[in-house]
């Protein structure tokens, strides 16, 4: 039962995640192979240092007939040098592979997001997505750099030790196999399974704490005005204590999976001594072999130790990989047709029998809409009824389930996304301001625009005098670390963008909802004067914003119908 619940919690099994990560790692297989070989040679040298060291001592004590102290000493010294050199090669090569893979994953993740936008943005917060792209992908480093190598050595080293043991006496082989299985397979696997839920609980608790502190900082003024500091501080302590409880489990888990295998290794070494004892009583001649073997065996556990040390971080890694795959595996909402046509104008818009549903909710059923050149169309309706969806279908963020949408006489499904969007400009609720200069921000749709064109667009949008008063004029940096524009100015910036791009259709999604009446009126006057011959489709819940429209559509119950009177 508990197993079933745990299984449901995770979309991907451990095996599947490992397989897919290994698949990704093929992109750097040269470096990974190189690192793995170095890891194996290094770990074998570790065994050699101990084994040959024991042989050297025995030889010096005159107990060993084979070889000479000098010969054993030389191979021991070679092993010592190899360990250092291989450590360098392994570390360097595995990290070259890992970090190159991470860079690729980050870019591909962004590409997936592009295909999933804008739907993904409404489902997940920006903070979440970025922490996947930056933090989670970083965590996967430990799989590429620290797991693949030990996965091989954890097999090869015990095999080598078993071969040597086989030469000494078969009974050693039988004793060692279960021990290797317990320490290198069973405990790490069980540890990972048990750690999965602990890891996600920790993350969730930390996330909750973060949101709480985030709210306290963003709402700092309100907290101070109402003297809420003490209440909030108490809550931070409570949340930290809750986090401590989960952390306790996490610590116990981590400590158990590292201390238990070590304990088993020591038990194994004691058992070997028992065997040594039993064998030597029967056959005193075997003594040299068993002594060398006991040293070799103790060194053969070094790879187990390095595997164990990544197991506790592996649970984080797998949780991170799961979050990445959860997003990249989603189906993109629209796919461009192969050999798509080019849309050359956006003079008219026609909807014919369009049906669209989102999730299991029907949004539109058999909707017909005609928009003629130069029309100023207002879309009204209750919130959540599908006003913005109307615009998004037109921009092809989604495809209708049936029916057709035509722009400029062509089915938008048949034309390239680029040419469709070349003919439509969008002004959002709040124009997005990039970390870039004013000029670059205006020229976002036309990066090759001359400064004169940019200035003209700014002038027509009624923002040029504001820009000229900025410290560096059009070269002033905007955004978080630059100058902040007011709400009205930002909307004008968005209009300047649309003016510079100069397409046939402009769609606007609540362009005035963050403005006061005064600014709203200024913006509308600009729209009236500057977009006289364009199609404007404007979604707004404000009557006052739509005063200049010649057509008003109301979205009601899965349909869109013209209205004569707004009131």
């Amino acid at each position: 039962m508990a197993e079933a619940v745990a299984k449901k919690k995770h979309k991907y099994g451990l095996k599947e995640i490992s397989k897919r990560l290994l698949e990704i790692s093929k992109g750097q297989k040269g470096f990974i192979a190189f690192a793995t070989v170095a890891s194996i040679v290094g770990n074998l040298s570790q065994m050699g240092l101990m084994g040959f060291g024991a042989a050297f001592i025995l030889s010096c004590a005159g107990k060993l007939d084979a070889g000479s102290p000098v010969a054993w000493g030389i191979v021991m010294a070679i092993c010592a040098v190899l360990i250092g050199v291989m450590r360098y090669i392994e570390g360097f090569a595995s990290h070259v592979a890992a970090y190159n893979l991470l860079a690729g994953m980050r870019t591909r993740f962004f590409n997936s997001l592009r295909k999933l936008s804008p739907a993904i943005m409404t489902e997940k917060e920006t903070g979440d997505i970025v922490s996947i792209a930056i933090g989670d992908i970083d965590t996967i480093e430990s799989f590429f750099a620290h797991t693949i190598g030990p996965m091989f050595t954890v097999i090869i080293l015990p095999v080598a030790a078993l071969i040597i043991a086989g030469f000494v006496h078969p009974v050693y082989v039988l004793t060692l196999i279960p021990i290797y299985l317990i320490t290198s397979v069973i405990i790490p696997l069980a540890g990972m399974k048990a750690g999965r839920n602990i890891g996600s609980a920790y993350r969730k608790s930390l996330g909750g704490l973060k949101s709480f502190i985030l709210e306290s900082v963003f709402g700092l003024k309100d907290v101070q005005i109402y003297g809420q500091g003490k209440v909030r501080s108490r809550e931070v302590v409570e949340k930290s204590n809750a986090l401590n409880k989960i952390d306790h489990k996490k610590t116990i888990h981590r400590q158990l999976i590292s201390a238990l295998p070590t304990f088993f290794v020591y038990m194994a070494r004691i058992m070997i001594i028992f065997l040594v004892f039993a064998l030597v009583i029967r056959d005193p001649a075997k003594i040299n072999g068993v002594i060398v073997l006991s040293f070799v065996v103790s060194a053969s556990f070094s790879s187990t130790q390095s595997l164990i040390s990544v197991v506790s971080s592996l649970t984080d890694t797998f949780a991170a990989a799961e979050r990445v795959f959860d997003i990249t595996d989603r189906e993109p909402a629209v796919v461009e047709k192969e050999g798509a046509d080019v849309l050359t104008n956006g003079k008219e818009v026609t909807w014919q029998d369009v049906c669209f549903s989102y999730g299991d909710k029907d949004i539109f059923k058999n909707v017909n809409v005609d928009i003629a050149p130069g029309d100023k169309v207002g879309i009204v309706g209750e919130s959540g009824i599908g006003k913005s969806t109307f615009l998004r279908l037109l921009l092809r963020f989604w495809d209708p389930d049936s029916g057709s949408i035509k722009v400029g006489g062509k089915m938008i499904k048949d034309v390239s996304l680029k040419s469709l969007r070349d003919n439509i400009a969008m002004v959002e609720q709040t124009a997005f301001v990039y970390e870039a200069t004013v000029a670059e921000n205006i020229a976002i749709g036309v990066p090759e625009a001359s400064i004169d064109d940019i200035k003209t667009a700014a002038k027509r949008a009624g923002i040029s005098n504001v820009i000229e008063r900025l410290p560096k004029g059009y070269e002033t940096q905007l955004g978080e670390y630059g100058i902040n524009l007011s709400g009205g100015e930002v909307q004008r910036l968005g209009i300047a963008r649309a003016l510079l791009k100069n397409p046939d259709i402009i769609v606007m999604d609540e362009p005035t909802s963050n403005l006061d009446v005064f600014n709203e009126k200024q913006i509308i006057r600009t729209l009236q004067e500057e977009f006289r011959d364009k199609i404007i489709i404007i979604v707004s819940h404000r009557r006052s914003t739509l005063t200049f429209c010649n057509k008003i559509f109301r979205v009601v119950e899965k349909n869109i119908s013209p209205v004569a009177d707004l009131k």
Binding site: C60, I270, R525
Partner: protein
């Protein structure tokens, strides 16, 4: 390498003892390791020297078993103490940072950066745990372990023990040759990583715009460039790092070889016994275990120190506010009075240049003027978010400086431009102003702000969840809740700072009606750049470049023909032209 950080050491007060307990437990584990190696080495040696029949088998096996149990228990206890240490640090340090956060003013937050502030109190505090329960104990252990092992080996083979001890103490400082280069690259790495993540944030927030304007490919290419830049730098760091580790490994293993060779020589000379030589081989590997461990956790120390830097930046902000009860030279003015107030955010450019404003009890006073004239600064002074540079402010005769900000805000409250709504339900968001208010009172206040019917119509009523930071509410509803809070607080003075600048026409009308009603029982201070909304104020102060240039009621100011009447005329023209020029609806 030594990474000692003063801030971290200072903050460890209260759990310092536990850090030493961790180090002590690590040494206990080492005692187990040594005991084990001694027992096994002795058994093997005795096998040779005495033959199987004469080995002290039972004693030695028992001893090795006890040693294993000591190691197991020690390791488990280390985890437990690490947790105690972390738990204490988590609560005490986070509380310290958080209470500091609450004292910051808005200017401090924007200087340090809101994201930065939040990161340091959440992720930062998690990162520094490693420093306390891994690095510091590891550092103590890396010195103590070789010395302990030295004493354990001293009577087996003194020259080998000396050699191993010297190498173990030298090998760590030797790594400093790579240190400077790595440090320089690390700062490049952080810059690169910041560039990458802020570009990612922007890419996601602006994705719709970017895609609609067909710039997605450019964006992705730039992103790829930044991601590769970061990976190139970190790879270079790793190369240096592993040069350092490889070199240490080389030195350590060669010294193991040398130590064993010394034992071999002494064996040939017959000056030591075989078991001693075997124990040396077994323990020599453990000799360097502590140093390998320290190298392994070093990057955790560096991360912790970087986080401590950010935390220190927050903790070092001076948030002390002057409260001097002796400055209670009273005047007789019933209301708030600003007397010749000057103020500057940066101590250079004065934003307010000798402002006199009188706000009599029960009056409605408005501040007008173009943006940048100092209106918002006056609000910051009124709430005591900042203190005057010169001049003074009194409230009902008492000097502002004699009243602690939190006490003052029981008298004067504000409805900001964008009311902040906290996650939770409607009730929680109201109770913050008066935690003793019952449902009836809450609903009657909601009625005053025209939200009562709406809340009653909700199936969960006051318990309705408002979404993450109030995302389920409209702009108008948020502002109305802000006003409801102010009403609940019972403060006699209420400031409205552009309270309707982001709401629609209907909400705006309702809000102003409500404000008008409030004016009958409370003293109101209204800031609005839309002048038609302050027409009925008892007195309007017009600010221009940090000075009051006009004052009086609407009619007086209109007759003055000054800046106020000019602004009013301009706004009227615009409002009318937009309506008249509008096309026909329908």
């Amino acid at each position: 390498m030594l990474h000692i950080n003063k801030t971290l050491i200072r903050m460890s007060k209260g759990f310092r003892g536990w850090i030493f307990v961790i180090a002590a437990l690590k040494i206990a584990v080492l005692v187990g390791i040594t005991m084990f190696a001694n027992a096994i080495g002795t058994i093997l040696g005795q096998l040779y020297e005495r033959g199987a029949g004469d080995v002290d088998f039972t004693t030695l096996i028992a001893r090795s078993f006890i040693a294993s149990v000591i190691m197991l228990v020690g390791e488990l206890l280390i985890g437990e103490v690490e947790h105690i240490c972390t738990a204490k640090a988590r609560v005490s340090i986070r509380s310290e940072i958080f209470s500091k956060l609450l004292e910051l003013d808005v200017k401090d937050v924007s200087r340090i950066g809101a994201t930065n502030t939040i990161n340091s109190s959440v992720d930062g505090v998690e990162l520094i745990q490693m420093y306390y329960n891994r690095y510091i104990p590891g550092l103590i252990y890396s010195v103590a372990a070789p010395i302990y092992t030295f004493f354990a080996l001293m009577n087996k083979c003194l020259p080998a023990a000396i050699l191993l001890l010297v190498v173990s103490l030298v090998v760590t400082p030797l790594n400093n040759i790579f240190r400077n280069k790595i440090d320089k690259l690390k700062s490049d790495y952080w810059t690169g990583m910041n560039n990458l993540s802020s570009y990612y944030v922007e890419g996601i927030k602006g994705m719709t715009t970017t895609e609609v304007y067909n710039r997605g490919d450019d964006r992705e290419a730039e992103l790829n460039k930044r991601a590769n830049f970061v990976s190139r730098i970190i790879i270079r760091i790793m190369q240096l790092n592993f040069s350092s580790i490889g070199l240490s490994e080389l030195i350590m293993n060669l010294s193991i070889f040398a130590a064993v060779a010394i034992c071999g020589g002494q064996l040939l000379a017959g000056s030591i016994a075989l078991p001693s030589a075997l124990t040396v081989l077994m323990l020599s590997f453990g000799f360097f275990g502590s140093i390998r461990h320290l190298q392994w956790i070093e990057h955790e120390a560096i991360q912790g120190i970087a986080a401590a830097g950010k935390i220190a930046e927050v903790l070092d902000v001076d948030t002390k506010r002057e409260i001097s009860p002796d400055r209670s030279k009273k005047n007789d003015f019933a209301g708030i009075s600003l007397e010749n107030v000057t103020f500057s955010y940066d101590n250079e450019n004065d934003i307010l240049k000798g402002v006199d404003i009188q706000i009599p009890q029960n009056a409605t006073v408005a501040l007008a003027g173009e943006s940048g004239c100092g209106k918002s600064t006056v609000v910051n002074m009124l709430l005591r978010f900042y203190d005057t540079k010169t001049g003074r402010i009194t409230i009902d005769g008492r000097d502002y400086m004699s009243i602690a900000p939190e006490d003052l805000r029981k008298e004067i409250i504000m409805v900001p431009q964008q009311v902040y709504i906290f996650s939770g339900n409607i009730r929680d968001n109201l109770l913050m102003a008066d935690d003793s208010a019952g449902d009836e009172k809450l609903l009657s206040v909601l009625d005053q702000v025209k939200l009562g019917d709406w809340v009653r119509s909700l199936s969960e009523g006051l318990d309705t969840n408002v979404g993450d930071a109030g995302s389920k509410l409209s702009g108008g509803q948020r502002q109305k809740i802000g006003i409801a809070r102010a009403i609940l607080s019972d403060a006699p003075y209420i400031v409205f700072d552009e309270s309707t600048s982001s709401v629609d026409e209907d909400s705006e009308r309702e809000i102003w009606e409500c404000i008008k009603g409030l004016g009958k029982t409370r003293t109101l201070i209204i800031i609005s750049h839309r002048l038609s909304t302050i027409r009925n104020a008892d007195c309007i102060y017009v600010l221009e470049d940090g000075k009051v240039t006009e004052k009086g009621d609407h009619n007086t100011l209109m007759k003055n023909n000054g800046i106020y009447s000019r602004l009013v005329t301009q706004q009227n023209e615009l409002e009318e032209s937009a309506v008249l020029g509008g096309g026909q609806v329908g």
